[in-house]
Every structure is written in C-alpha cells, then in structure tokens.
C-alpha cells in the first residue's frame, strides 16, 4: 500500500444533524478554522491519518438542500461541485429522517461517492423505533453507518469505510436508488441536458443535476445561466419545459420535483424504520412547553442570561486578576532588562500596557464563549431567538440579532460584531453590527463605575447603572429603528428557524468551540491593538516636555500630557467641547478613549495627578468628586457622551472588515455617532443648566 495518499472528504448535512460533533470526533483537536475567500462564512478543516492515508475533512455549513438559499449554502454547494471531494459524508439526523433524506436525494445526483452516517440513533430508539441499516444500505447502494457521536461509537467504522470506499473504485458508482421523476420530467431534463453539455461553463456541473435544478427554480442556480453564451437558448427551453410540466401536472415544476423527492424519501422511511416499542417520554416536548410558553418564555430567557453572566463573572474574575498580574510582571521584567529611554517606554508603556489592557479580558471572553457554546449546543439558543423575535421585530431586527447585542453588552463589541455572522440577510447583519458598539461593554463599564461612583450616593449607584443600561438599549434599538426606516428600508428577513431537539453537549465540543472563537478574537484584534497602542503612546509621549527637576513624578506626567500632541489637540478642540460642559483635559481623555474605552479612566488618572495640592493618595473617584470644575450635570453629560460617541478603534476596524470594507458605513458609524453624541449631550447640558438657574 502506498503511504500517505490524500483523501478529500466533505461532511454535508442538514443544520443540527450533529455534523460538527462527528467532525470533532473524527479529527480531534487537529483542525483549524478559516474563511472562505470573499465572504464571511467560516471554513472548518481538519485532518487525520488512518491506515496510511491522510484524510482531509472539510466541515461544510449546514444546508437543507443544494438549491442554495443563503451564503452558507452557496458555499457548501460550490464546494461540493467545484472542488469535487473524493467522498461525501452525509450526516443524517435519524429522528427527522424524511427531511434529511431530501438532501441525500440531491447529493446522489452529483455522482460523488457517499457514505451515509446515521446520527442520534439512541434518541430514535427512545422513541421506540429502530432503523434497519442493512436494508437501507441495500436499498440505496451506499454504506450506512450508525453512530452516537456524543459517545464516539462508530467513528472507527466511518474511517474504515472511507478507506475501503476510496480503495475500491467499483463501489463508487454503486448508488442504486435515484429519484424517478417520471417520463414527462425526464423528457424535459434530457432536452436541457443536451443544451447544457454544449455550454462550456455549465458543462463542469453534473448535467442531470443541473437540469433538474433549473426546473426546480433554485434561487441562486439561475444566476449561473447569465454567465454563459447560449443563454437565451437555455432560457427559452427552460421556459418551455416549465410550461409543459405545469400543463401536464397542473402544478408548478418545482413543486412537482420537491414532491417526487419527498415521495422517494417517504417510501424509504416506510421500509427502513420499524416500530418496536412504546414511545417513551418526549423530553424536548416537555422542556419546550415551558421554555416557549407565552408567559414563561421571557422570564426563563432572562434567567438563562443571568446564569451565563453569573457563571462568567464568578469563574473568570480570578483569571482576569491573574492575567493582570502576569502582564505587570512582564512589564517589570522587560523594564529591568532594557535601558531607560524611548525604546523601553515604547515597549513597556506602549505595547505591553496597551495589549495587556485588552487581553486582560481574554479569560473572561473564554468563559463567556464557553457558557454561550453550552446553550448553543444544547439547543436553547434557537429557542431564545424565538422568544426574542417578538421584541426584535418591532425594531426592524431579526430574532437572532439579540445574541450579538447581548455579547457586546457584557463582553466586547468586537465579539458582538463577529457573532453577527449567524444572521442570514445582509441588511439584518448591517443593522446589528451598527448598533452593537452602542451597548455598554466591559470597557465602558469601568468609565461608568468611576463617574457614577464620584457623583452618586452609594444607595443610588446600582439604580443609576441600571438606568444607564436601559438608556443604552433604548439608544441602540432607536438607531436600529431609524436605520431600518431610512437607509436600510425593507423587511427583516423572515424568521424561519428549526428548533433542534435538546441534548447534553460534549465537553470536548464546547472547549473546541470556545477555543476557536477565542483565537479568532485574538487574531482579529491582536494586530490592530498593537498598532493602536503604539499610536496612542506616540501621541501622548511626544513631543517631550522639558524636564523640570522641581516637579514630582506625577506633576511631570501631567505636564507631559499637556505638552503632547494629544494635549495640544485637546486645547484646540476645547471650544467644541465647551458647549457640552467639558474642558480640554476631558476632551483629551475622550480622544484617548478611541483607543479603548478603559483608557479614558487611565487618562483621567494621569491628568488629575497634578491637580490635587493637598497631595495625599486620594482615589481618583474622590478627586473628581471634589473638583469644582466637575458637577453632577457635567458628569451625566460626560456619561451620555461616552455612551454614544465613536466606538473604540478595534471595534471600528472589525466593523469595517465585516461590512466588506465599506467606507460609506465606516464614515456613517464614525461621524454619525460622534455628531449625535455631541448633539444629545448639548441638549442635555443646556437644558440642565437652564433648569438649574
């Protein structure tokens, strides 16, 4: 046997058919996630060596059919047709056999060798049914393997049959059962096939499949015709064929084709599935009767969210502190290694300080992703989208939009923006990405805690915080409503999602998912954070202030702030900030906040270092509270400005990338948010001053 021959295997199947679990147990941790070029659909690949073969697995996005409907499905279809994998593994959720076989009927027409993997056989057994594997294999002419992917049963069988199918060339063309569309449709597809084979661009596709797809009126398949030269000929033939079929059956051609496919699937289900015992308790049904209930749905949703955040904060806090200490230690070590000077300052203060500030949140994010992955894999997230759809649709959003918003509320807007990939329609994605940065993220929380702590009695602080959260949600949803009724007119994509049966997720799957998303965040943010922190360091460190021996260290730092580019810019911008009750110092802090919102706090800290004469180590909170230049009203205005103005640089960059590098949207986000922040705080401040007098 030759060594290390490569086998390309694609996993295809319905969404929620347990494809990813099988993929995980096939490849283990030996996998990586990338993007398909051009679009933001994740490409999961993994490899495994088995019996001297290098088997390369590609986990295609879940799809209901090959007549592609969303971006995901187009990717999956193009992969199957253009890249021609050696073997396709079709995962099938046996509890929903009929609909899963629908995709199989389409796959058989592509004339690729197929291995059928029956998943969740245990759940079917608990429903009192069994599947006759042997009969199924004989009937369809493909190897059929039953697995319980959660417990790693049957994974070796899959690998064995991949190898044997690859070695055994004869088996490849063994598919026996194909859907019989009847003489009338056959006659028309033959005619179309003839035209397709003459066409150079279309002939790369399997002719019979393409002919049927044309008749089936698949939304994206018709776009293929426009690229070709005998287009008009095909189109007229297609129209004629459709009319002929409609005349003959009294139904549209696509309905007839879907009907035949389902008829085929139904007949297979009838012969293969046998009822043996009584139906045991339907756990999914019982849980759903509470979770989806008219009255209980929303309280349960809130409870689940609470559990997620409680989990995250309880377990992540020590880790966050540890990370903070780690970065401090690294800072110390590097500082002692390098000679004092601009290079040391750049590395310690610029790079390590900046990166550490943001990466300190990394463990928290991992825990958050873990908790969310748990609810996703267990099947609750689809229900949550169902519960939230009622609220979201009022504001022109999709039910699934709640997840990005929630992620950016408690984590970071970057993760929120990245998670909009779960949305199908481009319009919904744009709106959700646009409003995600307006939520109060972890970084903004520090600013809010500082200012609220300074001006409010401890009794009211929580209340004010809740009001601020509420305000941020109102602002975000208001913007969504505004966008959906002006720039992005049109209906939100219709809400049709499948609710998968509940099951207990595997730890391995959760960890993989967590790691995958975490590293995605690091890769996305990492490069920009390094760049941005260097930039911020430069504008705060240069030009250098004259060194005055009489001044203390803190005073020297404050003088430096005034001397630097940032300080000068603040002075210039002061007239703009005066009407909203801010002086140059706060303007500088806000500008620095563009790097990351936590920087506002540290910048204020530097600025206030000079301004206390009494000198003792008062906390920053009290310094602000005692300052005459601040007032209750100015504090509130500052917070409102913080809430709305330009999002941090990382989220702006991620937003820019995810919108497909659209400068128009970038400009709208940056200018629009800052302008509206100024206007709102102007109104608040002026009305407040009027009321005071």
């Amino acid at each position: 046997m030759q060594k290390n021959i490569k086998i390309k295997v694609a996993l295809a199947g319905n969404p929620n058919s347990g494809k990813s679990t099988i993929f995980n147990s096939l490849t283990g941790s030996n996998q990586h996630v990338g993007n398909y070029p051009g679009i933001t659909v994740e490409k999961k690949e993994g490899s495994k060596s088995y019996k001297g073969y290098d088997i390369n697995f590609v986990d295609l996005p879940g799809m209901y059919s090959l007549s592609a409907f969303s971006d995901d499905e187009i990717v999956a279809r193009d992969f199957l047709i253009k890249e021609k994998p050696d073997i396709v593994i079709n995962t099938i959720d046996t509890t929903n056999l009929e609909r899963n076989l629908y995709l199989f009927t389409q796959l058989t027409e592509l004339s690729v060798p197929i291995i059928m993997v029956l998943n969740m056989v245990d759940i079917l057994r608990s429903q009192g049914k069994v599947i006759d594997k042997k009969a199924m294999s004989d009937l369809l002419g493909v190897p059929v393997i039953a697995t319980v992917a959660n417990r790693k049963i049957g994974i070796d069988d899959i690998l064995d049959s991949i190898v044997s199918l690859f070695e055994n060339k004869k088996l490849k063309h063994q598919i026996r059962a194909k859907v019989d569309f009847g003489d009338v449709i056959k006659e028309q597809t033959d005619k179309l096939e003839d035209l397709i084979s003459k066409n150079p661009t279309l002939s790369i596709f399997p002719g019979r499949w393409l002919a049927i797809e044309f008749l089936d009126n698949g939304p994206s398949i018709l776009e293929l015709i426009s690229e070709t030269n005998n287009k008009s000929e095909i189109l007229t033939q297609l129209k004629k064929s459709k009319e002929h079929i409609k005349e003959h059956f009294g139904e549209k051609a696509d309905k007839e084709i879907v009907d035949r496919r389902y008829g085929f699937a139904k007949s297979i289900v009838k012969t293969v599935v046998k009822k043996t015992g009584q139906n045991k308790v339907d756990i999914t049904g019982i849980i759903d009767s509470f979770v989806l209930n008219k009255y209980l749905g929303i309280p349960i949703f809130i409870l689940v969210m609470y559990v997620i955040f409680k989990f995250t904060f309880t377990f992540a806090d020590p880790m966050v502190n540890l990370f903070g200490l780690l970065f401090k230690w690294i800072e110390g070590v590097v500082a002692s290694l390098l000679p004092i000077g601009p290079v040391q300052s750049l590395i310690v203060k610029g790079i390590i300080g900046g990166v550490g500030g943001v990466f300190g949140f990394f463990p928290m994010m991992l825990f958050m992703f873990f908790a969310i992955a748990f609810f996703e894999d267990s099947g609750y997230m689809a229900r949550a989208a169902f519960v939230m759809d009622k609220v979201m649709s009022r504001f022109g959003l999709h039910g699934k939009s709640f997840l990005p918003l929630m992620l950016s509320t408690y984590g970071c807007a970057v993760t929120g923006i990245l998670s909009t990939r779960t949305l199908d329609s481009k319009r919904d994605r744009l709106i959700t990405m646009f409003i995600a940065p307006f939520m109060i993220c972890g970084a903004k929380l520090t600013v809010f805690a500082l200012i609220i702590g300074a001006f409010f009695h401890a009794k009211y602080q929580t209340g004010i915080m809740v009001v601020m959260y509420f305000l941020s949600i109102v602002i975000a949803l208001g913007i969504a409503k505004l966008l959906s009724s002006t720039v992005l007119k049109g209906e939100a994509a219709y809400f049709v999602i499948e609710l998968p049966p509940y099951h207990i997720p595997t730890i391995k799957g959760l960890l993989l998912k967590m790691w995958e998303r975490g590293t995605l965040y690091v890769r996305k943010a990492g490069t920009t954070i390094v760049f941005a922190s260097i930039l911020i360091w430069v504008i705060f460190a240069y030009p250098k202030a004259p060194i005055n021996e009489n001044l203390s260290k803190n005073e020297q730092a404050a003088l430096q702030t005034q001397y630097s580019f940032a300080g000068r810019a603040g002075k210039i911008l002061e007239p703009f900030f005066k009407p909203i009750g801010m002086d140059g110092n706060r303007a500088v802090a806000l500008i620095a906040g563009f790097a990351a919102k936590e920087v506002i706090v540290s910048a204020l800290g530097t600025i206030y270092a000079i301004e206390d004469d009494s000198g003792e180590n008062l906390p920053l909170k009290e310094k602000i509270a005692n300052d005459k230049d601040w007032s209750f009203l100015k504090g509130i205005t500052f917070l409102i400005f913080c809430l709305i103005y330009i999002p941090c640089v990382v989220s702006v960059i991620v937003f820019f990338k995810e919108t497909g590098s659209s400068y128009k949207w970038l400009a709208l986000l940056v200018i629009g948010s800052t302008a509206s922040a100024w206007i709102v705080s102007f109104i608040v401040f002026q009305i407040g001053t009027l009321l005071k007098h």
């Binding site: 059919s65 009929e98 169902f386 649709s393």
Partner: protein
Amino acid sequence: MGFFRRMAKHTYGRWHKRWIRAHFQKFKSFDNCLKYNGMTKLSNAVPGSYKFVVACCGEKLRHRLLEMGFLPGEELIVIENTGHGGSIVVKIKDARIALGNKIADNILLLRRK
C-alpha cells in the same frame, strides 16, 4: 368620453361591491370566511393538528418552505402560538420549526377533525 368612462366605472364599482356583499356577507371578514371553510391562518391557529394548504409569499421563501417539507396536504401540528405579533412553533415532518408572525400571517391551514 371621459364622462361615460367615469360613469361606467362608477356603475361597475357599485355592482362589484354589491356582488362582494352578496357573496361574502355571511362571512363578514376574511378570517370568518376561512373559518367557515374549515381553514385558518397559521398566525391565528390554536395548538392542535392541521394540514398545510398554501403559503403566499416571495419565490425564495416559498421554495425554502417547500424544501423544509411544507407541501400541500402535509400534516402539521401547531405546538405553541404566542399570539399578538409573536412567533409560532409548528411540528412538520418530525422537525420543530419556529416561524415569525409575518410569514405565519400568509400561511393557510386546514383544520383536521
């Protein structure tokens, strides 16, 4: 000529209205008409067993629903209807599918005895 045309339209309009009134007065509304014929919109359906009849919507969604198993005559169980602009959960071909209110408004079901 314009006058005659207007007159003709006016008369036809009145006749048309009277025709509608004559044929549909017993129903009073579209929903009642459906009820009389043993049908209901999905958005108004109470939990129970139904048959799918038709979905009036765009070509893309119609195709997607077809593929998901929404074939005319297909058995369908409404599991939960949150009502008042909320979404609906149905069970079709052993799958639970949640549908938004806007689509559910355009789906007709036949009640099963």
